[in-house]
Amino acid sequence: MKPAAFDYFAPRNLDEAVALLAKHGEDGRVLAGGQSLVPTMAFRMARPAVLVDINRIEGLGHLSAQEGQLRIGALARHAHFESAVTPGPLGALLARVVRHIAHPPIRMRGTFCGSLAHADPASEWCATTLALGGTLVLRSAGADTREVAARDWFQGVFTTAIRPGEMLVEVRLPVLGPEWSCGFAEFSRRAGDFALAMAVCALRLDRGLIREASIALGGLGGRPVLALEAAATLLGQVPSAEAASAAAEAAAAHCDPHSDVHAPAEYRRDLVRAMARRALAQAGVA
C-alpha cells in the first residue's frame, strides 16, 4: 500500500496550475484535499505520474452567493458548509448534507469541487449538485473557460466529462428562494461510511401545489441519477404522504442499483424507496 512514484508540483497561481495540467495531459491530476485520491494512489488503483497541488493558490477557497448563484471555489472544504453558507433552503440543505460526509478530520481537508471531480458513486455532493441542477466551471491553459451542466458531467464510476488539461475551478448552485423546500436522506452501515443509497430532493411550491420537483439518487453503484419518473409524479400534487409514497415507489421501480459485499441490489431498491420518502418528508411532503 505504497503509491507508485510521481512528480509533485505546487504552483502559486491558477495559470501555472493549468499550464502544468496542459503539459502533462492525462498523466496529471489535481491534488486538493486528497481524501479520496491519496488512498486510491496507496492502493495503486490511481497512479498519476504528476500531481498538481493547488493548495497554495490564493483565491480558490471562495464561497459566495452572487446573481442568484452560490459559487463554490475549488478549495472550499466540506467543513465550511457545516453552518449555512447562504440564507434560505440551499444553505440549510448543504448544512444537512455535509454531516453525512465521512468524519470531521476528513471534512476539514476534503473539498466540494474535489468530490465532484472524483465522482464517487456515493458522493453526497455529486447527488446534491445533480438534484439542484448545478453548473461546473472548468479552466484550461490560455484562460479558456468551459461550463458543463451537472446532468452532463457524470458519466460513470469515477468518470466525468472533464477533458485532459482541464481543472474544475468552481461549482455553481442556484440559490433557492423561500418557495423551495429540500430534503436529504441516506443509509450507511456505519456513521460516516459511503452510503448504500441516498436521495436528495428540491421542490418548488406555488399556492399549495408542487410546481417543480427534482430528485437525485446516489450510492447505487454507477453515477448519481435523476429520478425523473418519481419527480414527475409530484408535479401538480398537494404535498401528502400518498404523494410521497407514490414518488418513492416510482424512484425504487425505475432505479438500477448494483450488488456488492454490503448489499444486494434488491435491498438497495428498498433503501431508495425509504430514503426517497424520508427526503420528501423533510421537504414537507408527508
Partner: protein, 776 residues
Amino acid sequence: MNWVGRRLPRTEDPPLLRGEGRYVPDIALGARAVRFLRSPVASGRIVSLRAPAGLPPGALFVTAADMPEARGIRPALRRFEYRAVEQPILPRERVHFMGQPIALIAAESAELAEDLLEQVELEIEAEDPVVGLEAALAPGAPAVHALAPNNVIVEGAIRPDGFADAMAGAVHVVEFAFRSRRQNATPLEGRGGVAEYDRATGRLRLAASCQMPHMLRSGICEVLGLPEADLQVVAPDVGGGFGQKMSLFPEYPALVWLARRYRGRFAWIEDRYENLIASAHSRDQKHILRAGFNAQGQMVALEADILADIGAFSCYPTTCAVEPLMALAEYPGPYKIPSYSVRARGVLTHSCPAAPYRGVSRPVITFGIERLMDRAAAAIGLDPVEIRRRNLHDVFPAKSPTGFTLDEGSYIEALDEAARHLDIPAFREAQAEARRGGRLLGLGLAVFNERTGYGTPAFAARSMEIVPGYEVVDIAMTPTGEVEARIGASPHGQGLRTTLAQIIADRLGIDPLAVRIIHGDTDRTPYGWGTFASRSLVVGGGACQIAADRLAAKLRRGAARLLQCGEEEVVLRDGLAVTGAGASIPLREVARIVHQRSELLADEVGFNLAESGSYDPPGTFSNACHGCIVEVERETGAVRILRYLVVEDAGRIINPMIADGQVRGGVAQGIANALLEEIHYAPDGNCLSATLADYIPPTCAEIPEIEIHHLETISSATLTGAKGLGEGGTIGAPAALCNAISDALAPFGVDIAEFPATPPRILALIRGRRAVWEAA
C-alpha cells in the same frame, strides 16, 4: 495497603498516550524493507516465477528455490483423524489461497519493493477452487490437499450410550440450524517484524508484534533448523492481538532466514490489505442443533453437528482443530444437559487459514445454545429467563457432559441480576406500546460460562503435539529495593504490567511502582506461553503470587535476623519489615545488606533475593449474563442498540478499571461480530473484503454505553481468586443481540439464524424473502 481491587491507572499508558510507545515499525527504521508477492488466485499451479528484470543493487528476490533447507510449518495433533497438512514458507509448486506469500522482495524502501513486486514475472495456471463449506463437502469435490481426500482435516465425535433413548423421551424437540460468517480479528496494529543478524555474536534477533515470543522462537527454529539459543525473539509494544498474533505465519521464518543468509537487517510491516486477506480468519462455521426438553422445560438431550471452514492450512501451534473441537467440548456451557451427542469437523477450503480469535468458537456456540433456548422457550411457552433458570447449573462443583469440572460460579445469580437491571416487565409494556405504533423493539439475553486460565492438563487432553499451559515467574529484589519479575506471559495491550504489579505489591508490602514486570523477550524471561485463552492474569498472576510469597519469606528471614526477632513476628508493609513490637527496617536496607554485606545474612538468605514461582492450574470457569434492548427499523433493517449491560463474574477483580476495559473492548468486538464484520469470498476464491471500507469494524458511533456489573465468586480453582475475563465480552454479544433482534422480529414469525445480522439480512426476513443462506 491492599493494591488488589483498586482502580490503579495503567502504568503502561503515559508513554503510549505521549506517542512514545515502541512498536515494531518504530524499531524498523533503517532496515531493508520486505514485501511479499502474494497469490492473485485461490488455487493454482506455479508455471514460472522469475525475478524482475534489472533488480537494482541491494535489492533481493527470494523464492522457495533459494531456501531449500527451510521446512514447512507442521502443526500436529495426535488424535481426531487429524491430517498433518504442511504449510510451506514459500510454495514451490502450488498456491492454496488468495494472498498466500509466493516470493519476497527486499529493497531500500517499501515503495521500491512494491515497484519491483509489480515487475516479478509470475505465471500461474489457475485451477477451480473449493470455496465455502458446502462446496468442500459436495460429493466429488476436488481435494484442497491430497492428504485429506474429502477435505475433512479433523473430525471428533462423542456418541454416548443411551442418547437415542434420552432424545426419544423428550416432550418437546427444538431444532436450530445456523451459520456464523467469517471474521478477521483486525488488531489496530497489524503483524510485522524486524530481523537482524549480529555479526559480533552470530546470533539472530527478531522483534515481532506477537503474543507468544517463546513459542514463536520455537516455531521458527523448528522450521529453519536453528538452535534456540541463537535466536532472540522480542515482543515490543503490541497494538492488540486478539489471537491473530499467536500463530506462526510464513512471514516470520522468511524474515529470519533473510537476516541470517544475508547477515543484515530486514523489516516487514504488514499493511491492512495483507492483514485482511492473509492474516488469520475465524468463525466460519455452520451448526445444526437438535435439543429435547421434558415437560418442565429442562433439556434432556442435545445433539450438535458442527462444521468449521478452516481455510487452506492448519495453524501452528494450536492446529485448526481449535475451532471445531472447542465447539465440540464446550457446547453444553452453563447448562445441565444429561445426554450430549456431537460430531465436529474441520473442513479445508481454498481460503485464508483460520486461527484463534478472541473467544474462538465460544461466540458461535453461545449464539447456538442461547438462540436455541429462546426458540425452546417460545415452543414450550416459557419465559426466556425461566427456561434458563430451569437449566442452569446451580450446584458446584459441577461436571459437564464432556468431563469438565465447573468450579464455583454464579450462573443463576448473574441471570437474575441482568433481568432485574433490565426491568423486563416494564420493557414488555414498552415493547407492546411500540408495536402498536409500528416500532420494533426487542430484548435479548445471553448466559454463558467461559473456560479460562487452564494449564497443561487441559491442553494435554487436546492431544496437541505442543502442550502449553504453565507459567514460570522469576522474581528478584535489586540492591536498591525494587522488584523485577520476569514473566513468560506476554501482554498485547491488556495492562498486565499494572495488574501483576498489584498482585506482587500486596504480597511484599511494597508500592506497585516499585515492581517492574519484564516481559516479551526470550533473552530475559523464562520459557512461557505468552497471552491467549484468558490465561495471563490467572496463570501468570498465580505464578507471580507464588514467587512473591517465596521472596517475602526470604525477606522476613533476613529482617528477623537483622531485627533480632522470630521470623513469624515479621510483617511486610509499606516497604518495611515490621515486628509486633514496632521495630522496623526498610526492605531496601535488607536488600542492600543481602547483596553488599552478605557476611551479615548469607546464612539466612544466601547471596541473593531471587526466587522462582510456577503455576499450572486446572482451569476455572468465569460466567456472565449479557442483556440488551434493540430497535429494528422496519423500513431498512437497521439495528439500534438502546441498552447493553453485562453482569460479569470473573472472581476476584484485580483492577476494576482494567477489567471494565476488557469487557467493553470485548463487547465492541462482539457487536462487530453480531452486526457488522464479515469476510466475503467471490465464487472464484477472490477475497472481496480487502479494505476497511469493505470489512467494517465498528467505530465509537456504533458502540453504545455499556453498563457493567461485577459479581465476585471466589473459587478454589485459582490461586489469586481471579478468573479470566479477556474474551467474555466477545462471547456474549452476538447471542444477546441476535436474541434481541429475533424478539423484535417476533411479529413476523422469523428469527436470526445467520450472523452478522446485517440490515439486508434482517430486511429479507421482514419481507419474507429467501434468506441468502438457508438452513439445511
